[in-house]
Subunit: 505 residues, 2 copies
């Protein structure tokens, strides 16, 4: 088979994997949005069957031969060509998928499945000791996973690379340390500021659910989400998923007394869906048409949720509409008060409830602990103590119980160690891209204030979406902004915005 | 491989096919209930991929060898044993699936896909001539399909057998002729009766949609539908589907001025779902745990929709609740008037809107035409004329245009010739089973009037559901009622009920 034929065959196989995994996305979405409780057991069988099918397709030995045929040809001479990008990522995927022995994958899946049940029980009882033995097993398996994958500097690199290809522990450490050095004192000055928002305006007044839904759909449509190829539904935890070209699904949850809980989760998931909707559809199912990484995905969601959705310019347009939607609720509320309320900074225990300023501190703490677990053999029973100590140092609070501390997140229980940093990286990437967009488009605020978000979406399409996986995240930020990733754009943004809101010196 | 091992391997393969086809059911349901319009193209790819996968699994040559191994053993000595039932139906499925050459299957699918578009356009324009050429092609392909399948007496047998295993054209003809001889004059006496219902009570008053939904769910739950393993949603055309153990989905549509449209479609789909929920779950994914046929399935839906749901006893319980639900709308309406209104007999052009008395006449007409097309070479261009002539003879109406006549149904356009008779067979089976249940349970009306439907559901479980495919339909009715299928139980039921309602002599 000549290289051109081999490449066509690889495209065909990629399409088949995309079909299988997109069907599995339908099953996963239905499970969270619709499935009656007694359907869970068979649904697990359906998903496991498709996952097994996808895995066997992804590890077929013929793939290696086909890849070698193209890799040794001149088809990949230009490393940024469509062919070279696809082959680079297929190679990475094939090598990673075949590095883990099947028995290991099965043992990992079994342990993680059990660990999730144990974790849920331990969290309900706020008792870490119930969880510790299973977590130990998972950590041991995760270390073995890192060994299977291999690494140059430290085992944690191998884990990080799974979620954020090409990223290095040392680089993340450097970024986080730079950010933390400025963020911790800045947070203190906010907490101590005499001027504080009345956040009860948005967290404890009447916001009828049907009206919240309409406003959320209006805002996401204004962002550019095409509802002829998208749906908004309700689930316990908001998420977004892609069923394939022309079908993106986002979810939220509604609290009739809390405005922000649904509104900002809709904007967040809209950011994810806009990325998926604007990836080049002609390359769907191949790396060239796929998202770069979890970090870059999160940069899109956080941009639309925070950098745009919590901006003064956005609310100059949307506050009058919001007041029309909730006339009694907001009769006595000014734009200034509303904007301050939705940007209230409140150090708290729970990551998913955290504001823009404190959020990254929650991530840094998890990153520190994950490194210590994987690279330095931190004993499992010492994790809660380290957690609480770091929490005091970063956020200034004493954790009263493990339910509000080390037991709050599901991630470790399904074996996803190395995932958390991508949330903070997303914030950093988002801020750095956004700063560049502001330079390129000086009238951005005026367009937001006029309800026009097309200039920003077009900029993101041109500089990020259209590339698919052409560039790894580290290269993409360099190409787009002329600089490597830095904590400075985010810190500048936070300082400017929150100094004004809190009237800091 | 010994026969026992071969059987275990066949079970494993059946489970895999059940996984694949149940996943395809999820895709199909989502397509009708949720999918945004731009998702259609990729969804078609996903479904086609799974259908192809299922077909290749169903026609694997190893299946033949495995079946032979069991068929030649003493495992199938008792033809009603679980093993023998499964092997009998697997053999049937394998032989049928492998009788059609792959190229033929593809040509059929392609032609049917095009024909559906052409049909939709022809119906919109009410112009049969647009549809005739494609319908000719499909008929020609369907004749070839009958030849591939093979038959003893006439080609139409091969088609009928696809939807109603073991059924014969001559038998259906005999049943339909017996029914029609009594039904046509009976319908005339109803139409000419001086007493007529005020059906505007249920077809042209205010029935707020949310309340319709609640009442529909209450009634289906009272029937025994377990909403911990079921959901009710909205789609253009009501349907029911099975995602696997513990997950049945039914749909309806709501018209805020029409009570019966949603209420009786909910009861109808509940009947289908109750059958699925009460099949023996330990045999799920094998014939022993599967529904007998389309006709038997329809017998369950029509029983709960009509024989129970339009009975006086049912409404003695549900009318007070319904009036509480719609107090203004039904303030001036008595139980008698309401019950008469939901049982109004109105000869009309559209099959899916037909009442209990006229429905089967719509089917007979289609059955006559299908036989003429397949067995007697009726030219396509003569179909509308024959349709209109038979319609006048059976229902006494002149069809004003093809949109209301020969173009109304989608079935032929996807190549489903031989399907329609199962609807009427369902009515006949349902009435014959129900007459037997009444004999076995003399207090049935009293239990309905008390809102207790468990005695009937338990009877259906014991006599029908628990058997899965142990008996073919023709044997099941013999075993359950001691008689072969006859038109008499249905005709007796109709005569007794409608003579009373319309005060016929």
């Amino acid at each position: 088979m000549n290289p051109e034929q081999a490449y066509q065959e690889l495209l065909q196989r990629a399409r088949e994997r995309a079909l299988i995994s997109s069907v599995n996305s339908v099953l996963g979405w239905d499970q969270e949005v619709n499935m009656p409780p007694k359907g869970a057991a068979w649904r697990a069988e359906q998903s496991a069957y498709l996952s097994g099918l996808a895995h066997s397709k992804a590890t077929a030995p013929e793939i290696n031969e086909l890849l070698l045929s193209v890799e040794e040809s001149d088809l990949v001479d230009d490393p940024l060509s469509d062919v070279a990008v696809n082959v680079r990522e297929w190679r990475r995927g094939y090598d990673r998928a075949t590095k883990l022995p099947t028995e290991f994958v099965e043992e990992f899946a079994r342990t993680a499945s059990l660990a999730q049940h144990v974790w849920a029980e331990a969290r309900a009882k706020s008792d870490f000791s119930l969880y510790a033995p299973k977590l130990s097993e998972l950590i041991e398996l995760t270390r073995r996973k890192a060994d299977y994958f291999g690494y140059e500097d430290q085992p944690y690199d191998a884990l990080l690379d799974e979620f954020e290809p090409g990223e290095k522990t040392e680089n993340v450490k450097r970024l986080f340390e730079g950010l933390r050095a400025e963020l911790v004192p800045f947070l203190q000055s906010i907490v101590n500021a005499p001027k504080q928002p009345d956040f009860s305006i948005v967290e404890d007044r009447d916001y009828p659910v049907e009206r919240q839904r309409i406003l959320g759909e209006m805002a996401s449509a204004a962002y550019g989400l095409d509802y002829a190829s998208a749906r908004l539904d309700v689930s316990t935890h908001p998420f977004s998923t892609n069923f394939g070209p022309g079908d993106q699904r986002i979810t939220t949850r509604f609290d009739p007394r809390n405005f922000g809980d649904s509104f900002f989760s809709i904007l967040h998931e809209t950011g994810h869906a806009l990325y998926e909707q604007n990836l080049p559809v002609e390359f769907f199912g191949t790396p060239r048409g796929d998202a770069v990484s979890l970090g870059i995905h999160e940069s899109q969601s956080r941009t639309w949720e925070n950098l745009v959705g919590r901006s003064r310019a956005f609310w100059r347009h949307f506050f009058p509409i919001t007041r029309q939607m909730f006339p009694q609720t907001l009769a006595d509320v000014s734009l200034d008060d509303f904007h301050f309320a939705i940007n209230a900074v409140k150090p708290g225990f729970i990551r998913v409830d955290a504001d823009e300023v404190t959020y990254n501190l929650h991530i840094m703490l998890r990153f520190e602990i994950e490194q210590a677990i994987i690279n330095e053999d931190l004993p499992v029973e010492e994790i809660p103590g380290v957690w609480n100590e770091l929490f005091k140092a970063y956020l200034g609070l004493d954790v009263p119980e493990d339910r509000l501390g080390v037991l709050q997140d599901i991630h470790w229980s399904f074996g996803a160690i190395g995932y958390f940093p991508t949330y903070a990286l997303g914030n950093l990437y988002g801020a750095q891209f956004f700063a560049q967009a502001r330079k390129d488009l000086p009238d951005l605020d005026a367009s937001f204030a006029a309800g026009d978000f097309a200039p920003l979406l077009n900029w993101l399409r041109e500089h990020i979406h259209q590339h698919g996986m052409r560039y790894r995240a580290q290269a993409l930020v360099q190409v787009t902004t002329g600089q490597p990733l830095s904590h400075k754009p985010l810190m500048s943004y936070l300082k400017e915005k929150y100094s004004k809101l809190y009237e800091l010196a």
